[in-house]
Symmetry: C2
Subunit: 405 residues, 2 copies
């Protein structure tokens, strides 16, 4: 007998038929002798519809009240699943966030879980109940409803799994698992059986939208084994586990790409102390996240400074830097929206030298020019022209031996 948390995303509970599919899976897991806690998202599209409604009501909807509104989405799905399971003669009960004692801070719309009172959940599990909890929501110490931000249901599931010391946290979604590359652009991509928390963290932050980053951080911190799999198939998915677990010994476990990038260059910037602060502070103040930065020293105390921002913030950032350029006496500001970031990730890199060199030469062989580079202990990212993104992914996928047989 195992203690299992199963989380189903919005597409898995999108309508009554899909909720029935979830009920079948849950009941099967229960019938196999396991204790089961289910965490649900809202039906896909519902949260967006609620936000749209809120925006019709107020220019900048009050965050506390927005959370009161948004929590209705998951409240609906947990009630429906509980009804369905009871209709199938299973003992099931829904526990809303505050009933399950999911305590968060008071940062409405982006709250962080502070603790989970596992007592009530465990009591109900001991009474052979299937416990159904809405993801994405909790309540603060004053009893106000809170939400955890987009994708927060993943975090709810992992946090609950940690609190009740579950043997496994299964995250059901509409993809089969984590792939070595996006199968849509790389036909030879294959599903990974296992991946480490750190690799998953890097991939999540690189735009592989399979798990909310915060949920992976949580899983890593509390060593919760996560099984990422599809609710539309019976295939095993990808296990996200501790690095020391029995894993495939690959140097690179995945190639990711993101087209949500734009590049801005300030030309002939006077190379003086404090100049970087003048360039980046106004961008940060505007809430724009700068990702990669590169500085090329030129002659005569001048330097070129290039950085990347999300494509959606490109115009705003460009505007800001044009002002800055005038103030600091830079020669010009140029930008480019047609860039993409291609990355290779793998814990194996820690023990293998020359991964970067292999990456650069593989790209060079195809005449793909690298504009910016950034690295972490287990990742190397390159910014290239957008039109080369898919080719770059395929080239690197082959180079690092990831192609399926």
């Amino acid at each position: 007998m195992s203690l299992i948390v199963q989380k189903y995303g919005g597409t898995s509970v999108a309508d009554i038929d899909r909720i029935r599919n979830v009920a079948m899976r849950v009941s099967k897991t229960f019938d196999e002798g396991n204790k089961v806690v289910v965490v649900l998202s809202a039906m896909s599209g519902v949260t967006d519809a609620l936000i749209k409604m809120a925006n019709q009501v107020a220019y900048a909807p009050d965050k506390r009240e927005l959370d009161v509104l948004l929590t209705t989405g998951e409240q609906t799905t947990v009630a429906l699943l509980a009804m369905m399971l009871k209709g199938m003669n299973y003992s099931a009960i829904s526990l809303l966030g505050y009933q399950a004692e999911i305590l968060t801070d008071s940062d409405f719309g982006n709250a962080r879980i502070a603790g989970i009172g596992a007592r009530r959940i465990k009591e109900l599990l001991d009474e052979k109940m299937i416990v159904i909890i809405p993801g994405f929501q909790g309540s603060d110490q004053n009893g106000n409803l809170t939400t955890l931000g987009r994708g927060g249901s993943d975090t709810s599931a992992v946090a609950i799994a940690a609190a009740i010391k579950a043997d496994m946290c299964e995250i059901y979604t509409d993809v089969d698992g984590v792939f070595t590359a996006d199968p849509n652009i790389c036909k030879k991509a294959r599903k990974l059986d296992r991946i480490s928390y750190d690799e998953m963290l890097e991939m999540s932050s690189l735009g592989a939208k399979v798990l909310q980053i915060r949920s992976v951080e949580f899983a890593k911190k509390y060593d919760v084994p996560v099984h990422l799999r599809s609710s539309f198939s019976l295939e095993e998915g990808t296990m996200v586990v501790n690095e020391n677990s029995d894993m495939e010994r690959l140097v690179v476990s995945g190639v990711t790409h993101s087209k949500n990038e734009a590049r801005i260059t300030l030309k002939k910037v006077p190379d003086q102390p404090g100049i970087a602060a003048k360039i980046f502070t106004p961008v940060a103040d505007a809430g724009i996240l700068v990702d990669m930065i590169i500085q090329n020293t030129r002659a005569e105390g001048m330097t070129d400074l290039t950085f990347t921002v999300p494509k959606s913030d490109y115009k705003k950032a460009l505007e800001i830097e044009k002002k800055v350029a005038g103030e600091i006496g830079a020669e010009a500001v140029i930008g480019d929206e047609n860039v993409a970031k291609v990355s290779v990730t793998g814990v194996g890199m820690k023990n293998h030298s020359g991964v970067a060199a292999r990456m650069f030469s593989a790209l060079a062989k195809e005449n793909i020019n690298i504009m910016l580079i950034s690295t972490s202990e287990i990742r190397i990212s390159c910014v290239v022209e957008e039109k080369y993104a898919e080719l770059a992914v395929r080239v690197l996928h082959t180079e690092f031996g990831l192609d399926k047989e």
Copy 2:
């Protein structure tokens, strides 16, 4: 400065524009220097849609979980109104049933309010907040969500008004108040300025669907002045008040009618002790409410027994009585769905004799045959052929001097 509870029904919050209308009314009341608590229903149609969804999920949806589902309707409207008022720069806050400490019993779907912790509401009012509470919902002592049954929002509003000792409970709806008769069938009907709790109770139970009966009982018990009015006009509505208040001194204050009636007669029933129990117990066991009963003694120890049931239960009741008739040796069972109940109501009857006689002769003058009669201290009801219902209302409206000038 007054302490005012305003309750808005489903049609008053049916869409964003109407919620805006509610926000304008609430803010106006607040600006006039009053403390305001707002109680809201779900958008009209939403509760029905949720019930429909529940019925798709399970044959007989679990009542606890159905309440979890249904409470999302009012949760949505309170959040939207709070956002809108905050967007208009008012201090407003939503308090869900459990946050407002609306404690009920655990009769899911039909819970009764056991108490309201007024402390939190009062604290927020003292902080000059507009407090917005969903009607229809509460929570039991174990923290389970509960609902109060159809029309329960009226009861929520009156109970909250009683708990915080409000000066007035305004019930906003889509009608202008309580009329002397249904204006759709009686052109001369006029709006009553005042009506007593008892008259309102009788009228509510007679099918004048303006206020949930339980809310009137609550108002009477705690002497809460209720102002029933339209959210679509600025006209005063009808005050529902204590009988001893300054009221129009009418013998009859209203004529009501209900077509939701059916009549069943058991012919030639042996007139023996215990026979009535044999006839009515199986009907009660089937959850059918018997309204009026009449017994006509015939010769030879035989009696005819006639009673009325809601039209929707007619077929079931007829079936049951056909079995009963066989068992007790009654000659026949006949029934009639084409009947209606016409009633006159008024506290003035207590001090006036001959009201019944005036009623019967007014109907006789139009050749309207009376099939059954029942009376209370302040009401007389007659069952007549359905086709005469409208005529009977108009005749009685004129007879008792209710026609407007």
